[in-house]
Symmetry: C2
Subunit: 431 residues, 2 copies
């Protein structure tokens, strides 16, 4: 089992009437059987989301390009926003923790906004001859990405000329006519294919998440392997009731439906998951926030937010469901050696590692939430490496799809934002 889950802190037997009853939970869990069929149908229909974890060839074919980019550039800037950026950011953050890091690994910089001050300082800093760009937009029509691309290409062209500049860019977009594709063709920029059937927020396991990860020197095969582990557990089960993703989805859904927990707080106790949070927020919000429904995802970092948000969490409005994430096999680090040896205030530190302190603080938060009758579950994962992260991301993709299925929501569209895109172009014309 890649992920261990403890949901006892969500039941009325533990936290009173703020928690749900076993009966309510079991009813919902039973209903989730439909979602299991739905997922199995998706798989048998070769849905890329669930096919990718079993693939290797597509990544192998990218390797020559990756080698070339890693050799040629000392910095690679990834342009794109939302689903074209957050998955890769979540994965690539692992690279900064690699202690055996190859010094020839280029620095990856994600620019997902269009802030002029950010670009100004970027252009002053970079070494043009040694900087590459990866431009990612599924539609190829995202206004921000088109603007980012132009700004960077204009700047690069001025320094090294149009022909050379084109060799510094790669575009990832879907097939068919679109603005970025037209420009890339015109400039002879290499184009890689974004699967048409894969929405941005579900694209982390495709080249959208993994081309940047390969550039960062990560083991992307292990990352897919982690997702495969989680998926295989689902595939081999006939009954959903023993699957952690189904249990998690049933708890989240029933707490929202029967106990009005309108917010879902995700609080990992690991710095390596800080970039995972915005990815989760998009996945959850954009998939489920429809027709007045859905719950609002809130990111929190343990232990940091014990010193920032805990007062509100335990004594503010009781409208939240908490998910704490614990990493069980961490580099424990050296034991802390108390400096003032006779100081009794430091007794608690003797023979402890910093990892012990982290785990104690997690236990404190869980206890405090339960004492204050706030529903909380604990997810435990062995390790946050490529495999662990792949496993965790697939777990949350499944939870999202299952909750959507329970709530009769199409988790793959985002109807409310589409009209905004037209509005932006209109406003720009009208300035």
């Amino acid at each position: 089992m890649s992920i261990v889950q403890n949901i006892t802190g969500c039941f009325n037997t533990t936290i009173g009437s703020s928690g749900i009853s076993r009966r309510e939970y079991n009813t919902i869990l039973k209903k989730s059987a439909k979602a299991l069929s739905f997922i199995k149908i998706m798989i048998s229909n070769n849905n890329p989301l669930f096919l990718l974890p079993f693939e290797k060839k597509d990544l192998i074919s990218l390797e020559p390009l990756v080698r070339k980019f890693r050799h040629k550039f000392n910095e690679i800037i990834i342009l794109g926003t939302g689903g074209s950026s957050l998955g890769a950011q979540a994965i690539c953050s692992l690279a900064s923790y690699k202690t055996t890091r190859n010094h020839k690994t280029p620095k990856l910089t994600f620019v997902d906004n269009i802030d002029s001050e950010r670009f100004e300082s970027l252009f002053k800093r970079i070494d043009y001859a040694k900087t590459g760009f990866v431009v990612i937009s599924k539609s190829g029509n995202t206004l921000e990405t088109i603007s980012q691309f132009h700004l960077c290409f204009n700047s690069m062209e001025k320094k090294i000329g149009i022909k050379k500049a084109s060799k510094h860019f790669v575009l990832i977009t879907q097939n068919g006519k679109n603005t970025l594709r037209t420009i890339a063709k015109y400039l002879n920029i290499l184009i890689l294919e974004h699967d048409k059937d894969l929405g941005g927020r579900y694209s982390a396991f495709s080249l959208v998440g993994l081309f940047p990860a390969m550039l960062a020197g990560l083991d992307v095969y292990s990352f897919r392997d982690g997702a495969k582990t989680t998926l295989n557990e689902v595939l081999k089960q006939k009954n959903s009731k023993n699957l952690e993703s189904f249990k998690g989805a049933a708890i989240a859904f029933s707490l929202a439906k029967y106990r009005r927990k309108a917010n879902t707080v995700l609080m990992p106790y690991s710095d390596q998951l800080i970039s995972f949070i915005p990815w989760f927020r998009q996945l959850w919000a954009e998939s489920l926030g429809k027709g007045g429904g859905g719950t609002t995802p809130i990111g929190s970092i343990g232990t940091v937010d014990q010193h920032s948000q805990l007062q509100l969490y335990i004594d503010g409005p009781d409208d939240k469901f908490f998910t704490l994430i614990k990493v069980t096999e961490r580099k424990k680090g050296k034991k802390i050696r108390p400096i003032v040896r006779r100081n009794s205030d430091l007794n608690f530190l003797y023979n402890r590692t910093i990892d012990d302190v982290m785990n104690c603080q997690l236990k404190v938060t869980k206890s405090m939430l339960i004492r204050n009758k706030r529903p909380v579950r604990l997810l435990e994962i062995a390790k946050i490496d490529e495999k662990g992260l792949g496993s965790l991301m697939m777990h949350f993709i499944l939870e999202t799809i299952i909750v959507g299925n329970l709530d009769k929501i199409n988790v793959f569209n985002q109807p409310a934002v589409e009209s905004g895109k037209k509005l932006a172009k209109k406003y720009l014309r009208d300035i």
Copy 2:
């Protein structure tokens, strides 16, 4: 006027019954007169929070130490968590946008967590002889900070010896007996005073926020000046109804009270305010989340979250109050030069700067929220430099205090988290 505010998107005349009526708003705004007296009494009682913006001497006296640290170290690590870190992080992030940056400015690294993986990679990376540490804890008893300090000191001591190591550290803590102070005295580490009457989340204008900012080479006098501008507007008014902070607080409070907007979304359209968001989240959550009340702060980044959260914001549960922040005087950057000149899809880009695109997207979000009957206000600030940020931070401190006053809440304590601190030490002993 340093901050311009537009609140029309919050009224029922604009967004129907989801908005508040002018009558409700005016009743609350009238009640806020009490908060104006409260603030004026705080000032006449020499409360440091409101005195600091008028001070200079304390910063001048820090300058020799700052010069020494900036000369001696090429990296300075700031240890501490919550209020001991978030204010300084918000301010210091400005340094990364300084295009005229002095290359001798040491790199500032904030470590506000106790993740063993983070420390492991930190210790492999740093140049011990050229690294300084600033340890910040008001109480001097924060478990995380004590652990961080030991880990760093143990490591440093091993490399350069105990006597030399002590010269690489500075501690900021309050007067009186506490664990970190005892250790610092034992090791002859320099101690700077954290004002006893200044809570962590209100300490950004003291040396807690400004010693790191000075190390980063920022103009801290301008930062205080910004706060002074905002405060002076309050001081010279007899009536609260024309003050932006009172108007903002009245809107926030009445939307929470009369329209059940349980969440408050802060969405700046500026990368320079990304680190400002966690500071605001602590200020708001810890000050107001008490006795089952308060609203939950949610950070969002424009335009990034248009591609991540907007679907939920406009089509999910109607339980949020939105604050968009616009920066009016940005470095506009060069005009975007469309590459495929005959492509009509790019017409909207002609003669536009990236800043135009940013502002259009902000306008889109505001329109979409109003169309979908979600309460939204717009705050405009001329510039995010030291002065602008100081002004904005003081604005939100005032809003928080005014809402607390309207809600009869003590905004300066955090009762619910105190018992957790004892629990952590108990758990550590019991492992």
